[in-house]
């Protein structure tokens, strides 16, 4: 077996193994010198991203990839002597998982590049990078796994690492307060998930998602499990009215971490979609559950954006916008779910709504990451996060201002940036479902633009303030990190159709097609 075969066969597990290795060798590298450590983390992140892209390429070209731990062959999901039951831990990477892997890889690389200079003023960075890689492990694990208990484990790894990073700069206790709230809430959510896993195991004697999906009866116990999972994962992705931890955690975490926390929330969103589409699909009452998700979405959009407008802390404001944008994804995919049982409506607009929601996940990760990174660059240079104290920075931080404008226009859905493409898909398909929802979505976009006009004006516009006379442009690695994300925002905005065709439509198909997922693991259809 050649090296490239080895990589291709083992890509799903390497996706988790490489960041784990990077995480735990990071303190050792730090002992040698900080230069070696920086090369180590950057190199390992690039390798991880390369593996993610190889895996995603393979998934999009040849279909779902499974990796079975400890089996004779990597794709032998059902041991020969087990009587047709997949007993091993399994990674199932279908198009939707690969889609999330790509997001995580891109944001991971740019955020790490950014961290190299953003964090360079602080000491004890070994712990920072170790936790950062553990977050990457958590996200890759959550989106790749095909085993519900494994999902729980990665969820907890992600929560632990995120909480550690949120509290990383103690900040007079504020950051620790945010981390405490985030962590206790997510632990409570994780216990809900664990109960749901127990219910599945008790009923179906299986932990494999495909196996549970195949045996799904939608009994009373399954309903309880569904509710526990939906509530816990909606809380983790920050849907209103379970969003309270989001502004606290997003605003107090170091900016580079916040950009990655967006991806972490989306991994929970992926979990939510995986549960409702792959595990339950049409065995459950799709209309009811779809409407629950739509209501979460509409509340998130409206409350998120209206709470953002009066905020005075730049990152807290952006955090509320993150809540608001999550609402679009929930709305789009929720509409897709609500009409899933009806083939006519699904092909008329339901599938398009799902594509819009999923495309928005990608776009959101890019422009929201970009916005948090620009906020971080501003805070890095002027040392305050209070919007009232800012002004006139456009004179000195020109590139940061351009990147901020790109991000702000994208989040507000202004053409030709990527936010517009996905929002257009959501508006037009949701309008056919229920015009009122589409109108709410558009109003929210307008308010988003209004809110970012406020930020733009108060940060960059106005005369050069005397207290910021000697502020310089952000350092180059930070600009490159932002530049990668900004380039993708523009590129995806200018050429949306190829992206939708190559990445988004397969992902939406993979999500809606429960039979295909089961067949890829259990064989046969």
């Amino acid at each position: 077996m050649t090296f490239s075969d080895f990589i291709i066969t083992n890509a799903p597990v390497l996706l988790v193994a490489i960041p784990l290795l990077a995480a735990f060798l990071c303190p050792v590298m730090g002992k040698i010198s900080s230069m070696v450590r920086n090369f180590w983390v950057m190199g390992m992140m690039l390798v991880t991203a390369a593996v993610a892209f190889i895996l995603a390429y393979r998934v999009f070209v040849t279909g779902p990839v499974i990796y079975v731990f400890g089996a004779a062959a990597a794709n032998l999901a059902i041991p020969l002597d087990s009587g047709g039951i997949p007993i091993r831990i399994i990674f199932t990477v279908d198009a939707m998982s690969a889609f999330m892997d790509i997001i995580c890889a891109i944001v991971g690389v740019s955020v790490l590049l950014y961290s190299l200079s953003a964090e360079s003023r602080n000491s004890s960075l070994e712990g920072y990078y170790t936790l950062f890689f553990l977050m990457i492990v958590g996200v890759f694990g959550m989106v790749s796994t095909g085993d519900i208990f494994n999902f729980f484990v990665f969820l907890e790894i992600l929560s632990l690492a995120s909480a550690g990073l949120i509290a990383y700069r103690i900040d007079g206790g504020l950051a620790v307060e945010a981390a405490l709230k985030y962590f206790i809430l997510s632990t409570l959510g994780a216990i809900f998930v664990l109960f749901a896993i127990g219910i599945f195991y008790g009923q179906y004697n299986a932990l494999n998602i495909a196996m549970i999906a195949e045996r799904m009866q939608f009994s009373m116990l399954d309903k309880i499990a569904l509710v526990l999972l939906v509530a816990a994962l909606a809380m983790k992705c920050g849907a209103v009215p379970l969003h309270f931890w989001t502004p606290d955690a997003y605003s107090m975490a170091p900016s580079s971490v916040t950009a990655f926390l967006v991806v972490a929330s989306q991994a929970s969103l992926y979990g939510l979609f995986r549960v409702v589409f792959t595990m339950y699909n049409i065995t459950m009452n799709c209309v009811t559950v779809g409407w629950i998700i739509i209501i979460f979405g509409v509340l998130s959009m409206v409350v998120g954006v209206t709470m953002a407008i009066p905020q005075k802390d730049i990152k807290r404001l952006m955090a509320y916008h993150a809540v608001s944008q999550t609402g679009y994804m929930l709305l789009g995919v929720g509409v897709g779910l609500a009409v899933l049982g009806n083939a006519g409506l699904t092909s008329a607009f339901g599938f398009m709504a799902m594509e819009g929601g999923i495309f928005h996940i990608f776009n959101h990760a890019m422009y929201k990451g970009l916005l948090f990174l620009t906020a971080g660059a501003i805070i890095y240079r002027i040392g305050t996060r209070d919007l009232n104290k800012m002004g006139g920075l456009g004179h000195t931080m020109k590139y940061t201002m351009i990147f901020f404008m790109i991000g702000a226009l994208a989040i507000a859905g202004i053409p030709p940036f990527n936010g517009f493409a996905s929002k257009l898909m959501i508006y037009e398909s949701v309008y056919l479902f229920n015009p009122l929802l589409a109108i709410i979505a558009m109003v929210v976009s307008i308010l988003t633009l209004a809110s970012f006009v406020k930020v733009f004006h108060s940060v960059f516009m106005g005369p050069k303030l005397p207290e910021y006379a000697d502020v310089k442009e952000a350092p180059l690695p930070m600009l490159i990190g932002m530049g990668i994300l900004a380039a993708i925002v523009i590129l995806f905005g200018l050429f949306p159709q190829p992206v939708v065709e190559i990445l988004v439509a397969p992902a939406a198909h993979a999500l809606a097609d429960q039979g295909g997922y089961i067949a890829s693991v259990l064989g046969g259809a």
């Binding site: 307060e177 216990i191 004697n205």
Partner: protein, 114 residues
């Protein structure tokens, strides 16, 4: 009836845990509530795998007719490890907050709001 006793315990523990988490104001007590909830979940999993009269699934030469299911035990082991990590992290947060805020009362730890 006796076979149901563990499940009844799970329900009681869950309720105790939830009430503790929702009504107590001290961070340490909230953590204890979470630990009780975690124990309830663990007990739930372990009970699901129990087969009356079964032997422990660790002995190669055991009579192969009836064994306790091994998977839930592995799950619970993992879950306990995660629970320990959780407790350690929350306790360390509590220490820092006690140092910086001078209190562990959750009602007073609310500088981030609005």
């Amino acid at each position: 009836m006796l076979w149901n006793l563990p499940f009844i315990t799970v329900v009681i523990l869950t309720l105790i845990g939830l009430v503790t988490v929702l009504l107590k104001k001290n961070i340490i007590k909230i953590l204890l509530g979470i630990n009780i909830l975690n124990s309830a979940a663990n007990l739930f999993l372990i009970t699901l795998g129990y087969r009356e009269g079964g032997v422990a699934p660790i002995y190669t030469l055991a009579p192969s007719d009836l064994m306790v299911l091994p998977t839930p035990q592995a799950l619970v082991l993992t879950s306990i490890v995660i629970g320990v990590a959780t407790s350690a992290l929350v306790l360390s947060f509590a220490i820092v907050i006690q140092k910086k805020y001078g209190t562990v009362d959750i009602d007073k730890i609310r500088r981030l709001q609005g």
